[in-house]
Subunit: 442 residues, 2 copies
């Protein structure tokens, strides 16, 4: 077996991680143990919290402490969160008292709010220091803080945030000025319980590398950096995509989740959709006599209901994403529906013409639809137009409904919309058919 | 009308942008002109390139120059890219010569590669400078550079990148050391033509705030910052989501695109899917006699084919996202198919049992399916099991096929997969039906 050590001479860190991720757990641990202290430290820092936790738990107690203490408090909290409940106390007790209290504070927050994402360590100075004093003080604090040193936070005696200075501004200011003269007042802040999706938007709007997290009284709690936010943005998109595909959020990489868990994440929605789709069988029962009289109607059934589903899938996907990006808000509902009404009419019109021509050409070529083929063509065309319009309306309206009742709009997945449109679509189809074919085929 | 100016006293910047985005173009320009110079500058810097371009083009020539020159070269390039071809020369000529040449160089790159995203300005020092000299030099350069000053790049005389130092490391080093003694050698770099999706991954793996962009000979070209990458990650996710919903990428916010463009982006895929789905009508033709004999078969058709589509939608969505995140690569194809085979069997099994019970209970309650209801129940159950398994296999395999032929795997949208599964699903259903019902209903 090629060890990571040998490979690290020639491969990039990303490649090493990739090779490593393909090994079995045992091989992973063995390779890790063979690394030199420096290489191991670098490699360890690069890993996801899930993998860090896995490695730490296989090590003897003494080494566990070493690796755990190498982590920043927010990373240590992530690792501890990845372990089983019963391991947590033991791991917490390995931390030094300051870090332990910070980690416990972090663990008290939900994982996906500002307090759960932030780093509780940051560089802070007092407003009445001179710039020169602040630089000295900053150098001292910066030695122990890797991540969050690009802004300096100015706190009053009660730890309330009164201003910020960037490192650059501090270096460009004259040394004798006082911090309060050069700091920016009224900085953008994040409340500790703000959801991470919201933080992503704030961070993007601010264009800053880090934002301070405060409580309702303005006390500084920690710092969220843009690096955290790249992960957050990626994670939120993944969660939305997985919901939009009609399954639950996997919460783990595709190949790492067990097949059992995978089934569990997917069977729920699939069953709900199946039960929903059963209504089609019940509904069709009412049209059994029509189908008996005109079997040809059954031939176009999949075509028609699927067109509605497809139009609905487009509409719901676009609206859900626009909502997630903040481009569309609940109060835009009416505007969206209006747009989808026009769009749905246009799309339905195009497909209706294609459908009409299909029936006519097939009849001319194969003579399969009998004498009333023109009426059939009109039935197909009118149904397609109606069902596509209906699909676009349902697909765009459903995310608003879900949001209104407090669900995630992303649950208005393509399959969910398709199921609703299938049921209503076939009622529409048979109703249109009765209208056009009454007295001829029906 | 409430002006932005009045509101800026009480609202956050995000809220102001939101209010502003709801105004008509004319109102937007008027509000902008009423702002004080400082407020206008801040507000302008916060806008998207698309809006910046719109504002610039409404201003008199003299003011245009002012606002355009306020932008960093990469932002200026973005604004110019948003304007029509015929405006571009005039706008370029307003820039100072240095920025103009930088902007022209940026415009030569595709928008979505490292060269198109990077900022061509960065702080650089020589390896033989002392730390003290470097700090002085850095302060001088930093005055004109907002964005990219958190790392200092060490270049040799031919502008080749030989190392990097973070601002923090520079401040912590002793002033008399030479830069080459304290710099990090072999920094992670990005080649100028690397796709932005790849940059996002590199940036996340490196955990750095900025990465240097170089050409194949190692000459430094510019810097990509993590702030750029948040936008990139968001944009890539949006593009994937829109494709996965079965439409083309909108390339603009949902409410800003005209309805005509919206129809154009959606009608293509919808028509392709419609034409594909027409195969169902042709296929069903072959089973017309079976349906005539046993109309009851038609009743379960939507239920069965939609179950396959739903299972396929889940599988394709999960696989596409895992591919985009780099969790699954082309060579993992066989592993993925194996997992989906087992998952599909399990999911199909669950739904089959529900389907079986549905037919039996309905028969007991309503006596609607006749004497052969047990055979019908078995037909439904076996078809559902088969079609769900098949859906999971098609849904997971299709993204690999698309990737292999050079398409975006995200085009394996839920509707696309559903269409394929519909066609094959109904063949499977009628084949299973012939097997179970031959000699009874058929």
């Amino acid at each position: 077996m090629v060890t990571i050590e040998e490979q690290s001479q020639t491969l990039t860190r990303a490649q090493i991680k990739e090779v490593w991720s393909e090994l079995s757990t045992e091989e992973q641990i063995n390779s890790f143990k063979k690394l030199s202290a420096l290489d191991a430290a670098r490699f360890f820092a690069d890993l996801e919290a899930r993998d860090q936790a896995r490695i730490i738990l296989t090590l003897p107690i003494k080494e566990r402490r070493l690796w755990l203490r190498a982590l920043d408090p927010d990373d240590a909290a992530d690792v501890i969160q990845e372990t089983e409940e019963e391991e947590r106390q033991a791991l917490l007790s390995m931390l030094d008292p300051l870090t332990r209290s910070e980690v416990i504070a972090l663990l008290a927050y939900a994982e996906d709010v500002a307090g759960g994402v932030m780093n509780p360590r940051y560089v802070h100075v007092r407003p009445d220091m001179t710039v020169n004093e602040a630089i000295t003080y900053f150098r001292k604090q910066a030695r122990t803080q890797e991540e969050t040193i690009y802004y300096i936070y100015v706190l009053d005696h009660e730890q309330r945030l009164v201003g910020t200075i960037s490192m650059r501004e501090l270096l460009l200011a004259s040394p004798d000025q006082r911090v309060e003269e050069v700091m920016r007042t009224q900085p953008t802040t994040i409340l500790e319980n703000v959801d991470q999706e919201e933080i992503g938007k704030l961070m993007q709007e601010s264009g800053l590398l880090a934002l301070p997290v405060v409580d309702v009284d303005g006390h500084m709690k920690g710092v969220v950096t843009v690096n955290d936010i790249v992960d957050v943005v990626q994670e939120e998109a993944t969660e939305d995509i997985q919901k939009m595909g009609g399954s639950e959020v996997l919460d783990a990489p595709y190949l790492q989740i067990t097949v059992g868990e995978m089934v569990k994440k997917r069977v729920g929605w699939l069953t709900i959709l199946f039960l929903g789709e059963m209504v089609t069988a019940t509904t069709m029962q009412f049209y059994e006599i029509q189908i008996e009289k005109a079997v040809v109607l059954a031939l176009f059934l999949p075509l028609i209901i699927s067109s509605g589903g497809n139009a609905g899938s487009q509409a719901s996907t676009l609206v859900i994403r626009a909502m997630a990006l903040g481009e569309v808000r609940v109060r835009d509902c009416f505007r969206v529906i209006k747009r989808e009404f026009i769009t749905g009419l246009a799309l339905g019109g195009v497909l209706a013409i294609i459908g009409l021509l299909r029936v006519i050409f097939w009849q001319m070529a194969f003579k399969v639809y009998g004498d009333y083929f023109l009426l059939l063509a009109m039935t197909v065309a009118a149904s397609v137009a109606g069902v596509v319009l209906w699909g676009a309306l349902v697909g765009s309206f459903l995310p608003f409904v879900l949001k209104k009742v407090g669900w995630d709009p992303a649950s208005a997945s393509a399959p969910f919309v398709a199921t609703i449109v299938d049921i209503t679509g076939l009622i529409l189809y048979f109703t249109v058919a009765s209208f056009f074919l009454h007295g001829s085929l029906l």
